[in-house]
Symmetry: C2
Subunit: 227 residues, 2 copies
C-alpha cells in the first residue's frame, strides 16, 4: 500500500481530499498545523475527520506564525472581513507563506515515512486571491521538493497532488458527499466559536454556504446564535 | 535601507552571512529556528551573534520537528556520529526538509516585513551530502518563492542570497575574521553541552577545526572537558 501525507485543516476542502486519497488506495497520514490561527477549533475538527474517514494516523504540529503577524487569521488586531467576498486583490485573511510552510512540513514528514506523495486541498477557483493556491505555484513547489530531499537524491520521485484545484465549491461538495464525507464534522469559518459554530458572515462561511446551495445539497453547518 | 531576513543558527556559517549582509548595507532581521535540535544551546549563540554584529532584531520561532523523528539531530535514539566525516551518502544528522522549512519561515517573515531578500548560509562544499544545500535546490526554492507570495503577485522580486555556498570552511572563516566576526560567540557542535562547549568529535566539530587550521587562524572554540 502506498503511503501518503495528507494536509488536513479540518475544513471542507481538505476533508474531501483525504476521502479521495483513501479511495485511491493510499495509506494516509494526516497532518494538521496549529499555526496560531484564531479558528483553532478547526484542529479538533481535523481529528474527527481523520478518524471518521479512516486515516492511519493524525498528527498536529505547532508553529507560532503569530510571531510574524500580518494576517487577520493570526493577528487579533486585524478584523476578519464579514461584509462579503472581496472582488480582486489578496484578502487580509491571507497568511504570508502559509501554504509553503505547511507543504514544507508535509514534505519533511513524507521523507521520514518514505512516502513519495503529498495531498493538498489547494483550490484556485473560489480563492483565486491567494497566490499560493495557483497551479504554477504547486508545480514550482513540486520541482523544488524533487531537489530538496534525500529521497530525491536516491532517485525517488515526489508528487504533490492537488485533486480539487480546478473544482468549484459545489463540485467539491458533490464529490465529497459521493465519497461519504460527513461535512457536519468539518469547520470552515475563520472565526468559529469554541464549539465550532460558524459566524455565517466571513468569506469562508459565504463560499461554503453558496457551495451547498449550488450543489443543491443540505448544509449541515452549525451556526452560532441559531440554537 | 533595504531590509533582509537572515537565517541565523548560531553557528559559524550563518554568523559570517549575517556579517556580510550587514556589510552590504541591509537592515537585518535575524531569524532562528528552534526545531527540537539537541544542540539547543546554539540558539543562545544566535542571540549573542545578532547583538554583536548589529542585527536590527532577532526572533526565534519554535517548531517541533522531533514529532516526525528520523534524524540524529532531533531524535535522541539516533546517536550523533563521532568517528569521522562520512565519505559519500547522506549523514544521519540530515534533518528531513529542514532547510525547506526554515526558508519557508524566512519567506513568511520577509513578506510581513516587505523585505525582498533572504540570506541563507548554505554551503555546498563541506556538506555536499545534504541535498538541500545544493545550488540547484536554492534556485528552485527562489523560483517557487517568486510564485508564492502577495509580493510576487504585486510584481516584486524575491532573492535568496547564498553568499558562502561555494566557499571552503577555511575561506568562510578568513572572510568572517576580516568582517570582524567573533567566532568565539558561535556554536557549531551537534552535541554541545549546556554551556555551549563542543564535543570536538562530531562532523561539525571536525569541519570547523580543520577550517581554522587550513585558514591558519586561531580556533577560539571552547571544548568540553578541557577546562
Amino acid at each position: 500500500m502506498r503511503k501518503a501525507v495528507v494536509l488536513l485543516s479540518g475544513g471542507l476542502d481538505s476533508a474531501t481530499v483525504l476521502a479521495l486519497a483513501i479511495r485511491e488506495g493510499y495509506a494516509c497520514h494526516a497532518l494538521s498545523i496549529d499555526y496560531g490561527q484564531r479558528h483553532k477549533v478547526e484542529l479538533e475538527a481535523a481529528k474527527r475527520v481523520a478518524r471518521a474517514l479512516g486515516a492511519l494516523e493524525q498528527k498536529t504540529v505547532s508553529i507560532d506564525l503569530a510571531v510574524f503577524g500580518g494576517s487577520a487569521l493570526t493577528d487579533t488586531n486585524i478584523a476578519v472581513p464579514t461584509s462579503g467576498v472581496q472582488k480582486g486583490g489578496i484578502p487580509v485573511t491571507y497568511v504570508p507563506a502559509r501554504n509553503t510552510i505547511m507543504l514544507a512540513l508535509a514534505l519533511g514528514w513524507a521523507e521520514v515515512l518514505q512516502a513519495d506523495d503529498v495531498f493538498f486541498g489547494a483550490n484556485a477557483v473560489d480563492y483565486s486571491g491567494y497566490p499560493d493556491c495557483r497551479p504554477e505555484y504547486v508545480r514550482a513547489f513540486e520541482r523544488m521538493a524533487n531537489l530538496a530531499t534525500k529521497a530525491a537524491v536516491e532517485g525517488r520521485r515526489f508528487t504533490l497532488h492537488t485533486p480539487i484545484i480546478d473544482l468549484s465549491k459545489a463540485e467539491i461538495i458533490a464529490l465529497g458527499v459521493k465519497l461519504g464525507v460527513d461535512y457536519g464534522l468539518t469547520v470552515s469559518c475563520y472565526q468559529a466559536d469554541r464549539e465550532g459554530r460558524a459566524c455565517g458572515r466571513c468569506d469562508a462561511c459565504r463560499l461554503r454556504r453558496e457551495g451547498f446551495q449550488a450543489a443543491n445539497l443540505p448544509d449541515l453547518t452549525r451556526y452560532a446564535g441559531r440554537g
